[in-house]
Symmetry: C2
């Protein structure tokens, strides 16, 4: 049986950070629903940031509630602080992705505080989550994300020891998952293999995901290196949308369709129906005129030689065969 | 000292196969000249195919003579048969890249004969080259290229044993180099690692180059896998131009700028000045309006963390510092 790799759709969050068109909550929910129907197990549905900073997520509560209502996939959200986490959980989310930056300068630009303060904020979120678990039936998974783990457009090089130190602190505080992010696309495959092997070692049984951007065309080379290092979960966005507003020159996430194609070509199962992703992509392209969509599979169709890998987990609701 | 990797510019040949605009011989020679000045050691300057098939190469003789006159880089040309090789050598070229397809169907579509017949034609070229060496001071290097080595848009899967068999025959007949081509972009990193390790083994001391297309976004993931397998020479095209007219849906070559960036990021030296490539790219973009140019480095600039790797070979003429 093929080993499973989880591809998580972050398009409704990261994919919308730089686009010029505001999508409605209904459109975002269609994105989530169809991603889930295509077999995506987890969708980062929104970001609980102040609407003054990112007005495109002013509907975060509505989208989160709607996504939870859809079912069929894990709905997660990005949060930069305790307040965001509280709003996310209140809206019904049971997975919260916290993010801080390994680069001090990027953390200041992104959330206006030091990385150390951001780590202390994470502890508050974990305490809040633990109190909730003690006093109610609400169980929430908290992921610890490390942005700019492979370099920063503001400050340049980021020491691997710093990333490992932050990973260690996250684990000590009780993170349920680590997300190692190449926010600006600076990583190369050798760097990925080195750092991800070290992160997987400190993480032990705690799941580790990678979040890659394809700024320099190395996105899928980096994903390949991470797979080889042992990473089994990746963030990606349909059409390769995405980008960090506080990382000048940054461009899109790795493309979901192409990532699924790569991962299955390497013999792993994803449980994802690429044809359904391509249909969803066409819908999103119509919503977002003028945006740069990337992707080889969308342009060229799947290779004649491509064979989808059967997924072992058949319990999850899947799109009916058409 | 860093290990050297040769990046060869095939834009003036492969890069022009599908473009709508006809470049003049002067423009093609400017492309060659500036590529050489940027540090590119070998340029595939044209294709000696019948002008009735590819009118954009009707000036092959003029371009080849001009490129030889420029000096500073090895000028090579693609040839599909003995007549092409004779024309190339007559024009002054001392490196000839012969190509046949591992896929029977693609070979028929491309050169209208069987792969076996193409192999026999290669023998004629080698005999011609050997006679020339015996009777004159002319020494010509003949490379044996294997198109569709990783799959074919017409016939699908291509057996690895078939590619190895053709490689073996090329070597037996006296090929000076093997070029293993993923003409349609079907390859994945696992396949590359497997096949290229086997090819390098049979090739022994004969150099082996890879020629990749980026149809599905895996071009640089595949280049990384080939580097890891031990390949030290790659074809690429500035701006990621290129494509095979007999491979429906095929798209551009791996991008020269991004390939140099990848290879140097992994610690190899290329001797190539990326800034000079980007200037050349801007010139070519102005010549070819409406074409699809790819490339992360051109869009985002080089990462702050990028450090060019010093080349060991300082004997070659290089662009003066500006």
């Amino acid at each position: 049986m093929a080993e499973h790799v989880q591809i998580r759709e972050v398009g409704p969050r990261d994919g919308l950070q730089l686009v010029k068109t505001m999508l409605t909550a209904e459109q975002k929910l269609e994105w989530c629903r169809r991603a889930g129907e295509a077999g995506i197990e987890e969708v980062e549905v929104t970001s609980f940031v102040p609407p003054s900073v990112m007005p495109q997520f002013a509907d975060a509560g509505e989208v989160a509630r709607g996504a939870v209502g859809l079912g069929g996939f894990t709905a997660a959200a990005l949060v930069p602080n305790l307040k965001g986490a509280q709003r996310a959980i209140e809206a019904g989310l049971r997975k919260v992705n916290y993010v801080l930056s390994a680069s001090e300068a990027h953390n200041q630009a992104n959330v206006r505080r030091s990385t150390q303060e951001s780590l202390e904020n994470f502890k508050d979120i974990i305490d809040f989550r633990n109190d909730l678990a003690k006093n109610s039936s609400v169980r929430v998974q908290i992921a610890g994300g490390i942005a700019t783990s492979f370099g920063c457009t503001i400050s340049g090089k980021v020491d691997e020891s710093r990333v490992l130190e932050i990973a260690d602190k996250y684990l000590e505080m009780g993170a349920d998952e680590l997300i190692i992010a190449d926010t600006v696309g600076y990583a190369n495959p050798a760097q990925i293999r080195r750092l991800m092997s070290a992160v997987l070692k400190v993480a032990g049984s705690v799941p580790v995901a990678c979040h890659f951007h394809d700024t320099f065309g190395l996105g899928l080379a980096n994903a390949t290196a991470a797979l080889e290092a042992g990473v089994r979960a990746f963030d990606s966005a349909i059409g390769g949308l995405g980008g960090c507003p506080f990382a000048p020159g940054a461009s899109g996430n790795i493309n979901t369709e192409d990532t699924v194609y790569l991962v299955e070509s390497l013999g792993f199962s994803t449980g994802i129906d690429i044809a359904a992703l391509l249909e969803l992509r066409r819908v999103i392209e119509a919503w977002l005129p003028g945006e740069r969509f990337t992707g080889g599979v969308a342009r060229a169709g799947l290779p004649k030689t491509f064979q989808p890998v059967p997924a072992h987990d058949q319990r999850r609701p899947r799109r009916a065969a058409t």
